[in-house]
């Protein structure tokens, strides 16, 4: 299938307070790619992610997802294709129990009850959280919350998985489990993160953004090793590559 494509063409966006967050971003991500998005604080990563499922609309430029251009009429279809995992699991998990939360998306897709249960069990098993099914989210540890957040999205079986800072605030073991989990996914993946080692481990391609523009776009191994480029964007070499 060649239609799991995300294509940004000269996208501009400014918030109502006139902060220009994106000023002419263009890139194309094709089927099955895993792409890391890195950049300094305030570089526009979160704004970019909000565009990927039409929560924000570009002020100028075009976004094509799959075979449809993003606008108000295609937005709900695009949301079925692009699953977004947000930075804060407390925002992502809004239902009273884990089961209700994971089933929220599939039920909205209009699936039958048996199919929903199947999807929920499958998704929870994938992230290793099946036993937490009946727990309320406020009784989970942060690592568990994060894993369940991912399950809520993969239960919808999106074509493209988008994640904002998936490893933030995780302890090293949970982080490693997350990395292994991400490596197993066959979806197209887009991961925005400051965790450069995670990007290096999981993604083959890396896009650096700064001041609302694409600064560099290439194989993760090359981009993340470019010390000058990293320094210019408030970043540094991945820790695993730094000489002690």
């Amino acid at each position: 299938m060649s239609h799991h494509i995300i294509d940004f063409k000269d996208v501009h966006f400014a918030y109502p307070d006139r902060t220009e967050a994106l000023s002419g971003i263009s890139f194309r991500i094709t089927h099955g790619e895993s792409v890391g998005i890195v950049g300094a604080n305030g570089a526009g990563k979160s704004t970019l992610i909000s565009h990927m499922n039409g929560y924000l609309m570009p002020a100028k430029g075009r976004i094509i997802i799959g075979d449809a251009q993003l606008d108000k009429t295609t937005r709900s279809d695009i949301r079925k294709k692009v699953g977004v995992v947000f930075q804060n699991p407390d925002d992502q998990l809004f239902m009273p129990t884990v089961f209700d939360d994971v089933s929220f998306g599939p039920l909205n897709l209009g699936l039958s009850e048996e199919r929903v249960i199947e999807r929920v069990n499958e998704a929870l098993n994938t992230v290793g959280c099946y036993d937490l099914k009946d727990k309320p989210p406020h009784r989970l540890s942060l690592g568990q919350k994060r894993a369940v957040s991912i399950a809520t999205v993969i239960a919808m079986q999106p074509d493209i998985l988008v994640m904002d800072e998936p490893a933030a605030n995780l302890d090293p073991k949970s982080r490693r489990q997350l990395i292994n989990l991400l490596k197993e996914f066959k979806h197209s993946k887009i991961i925005a993160s400051h965790d450069l080692d995670l990007i290096l481990d999981v993604c083959e391609r890396c896009i650096v953004i700064g001041a609302g523009k694409v600064r560099a776009d290439g194989p993760a191994g090359e981009v993340l090793l470019n010390e000058k480029l990293m320094k210019e964007n408030n970043l540094e070499l991945p820790l695993s590559l730094q000489r002690r």
Partner: protein
Amino acid sequence: MLTFDKEYFNIGYLDTLSYKDTFMHRIDPRIKLLTSLAFILLVISFPKYEISKMIPFLVFPVVILSIGDIPLIFILKKLLIVSPFALFVGIFNPILDTAPMYSIYGVGISGGWVSYFSIIMKFILTISTALLLIATTSFPGICIALEKLFVPKILVVQLLFLYRYLFVLAEETMRIVRARNMRTFGRKGQGMRVFIQIAGTLFVRTVERSERIYHAMCSRGFDGRIRMMKNFKPGFIDIIFAVVTITVFVILRKYDIAKILGDLILQ
């Protein structure tokens, strides 16, 4: 520990209790809600001077308490916290209603005291039952029961969100209050002014959070309706429980068991 922290963990404790696994916890939430409502309605339907008929009703909260493995002291503390309301509602009864009703060894007891005591009895019975209902049923369970019993969906959804974010918001408040206390060194900080600022900060953060939650909901296909799978059916035991308890309540409401027992013993 700060008082705010204490209160926070107190709510958390009530929530923890509701996730125990006892016979009482396993009863269908709808059944528990219905029997508790029946209990409360019957208790408040007693006339103003009634006391003796009400006493056997104490059995219900006591039974739930012991089967549900809920610590008595916890319920008593909660009762004490809300008691001023009940105590003040009837405080003028003994002054306004001085007609003697009973006399025990020559000491006359006025109707006012009897009705005051009756109010307090009603308060203890209804509030302890309501507390025990919450302590033995998970909050989402109660919400789903409410919805099944035709409470408007929008209200139920509000309650569910309230429950979900109560803890998140409380933790946020706790962090702010702690941060303030760490830097006021036992003094009152800036008092009211800082308090207002804290409330403002919390409000702004809450609005921002609600926006993010809405965003997350939209991403998963939210279209104005929250769908939930409710897969519980009242079993045989649930129905027996409902029938037995409600029959007992009605009998207790109709006949003065305490008096009948007393007469039997005295014969």
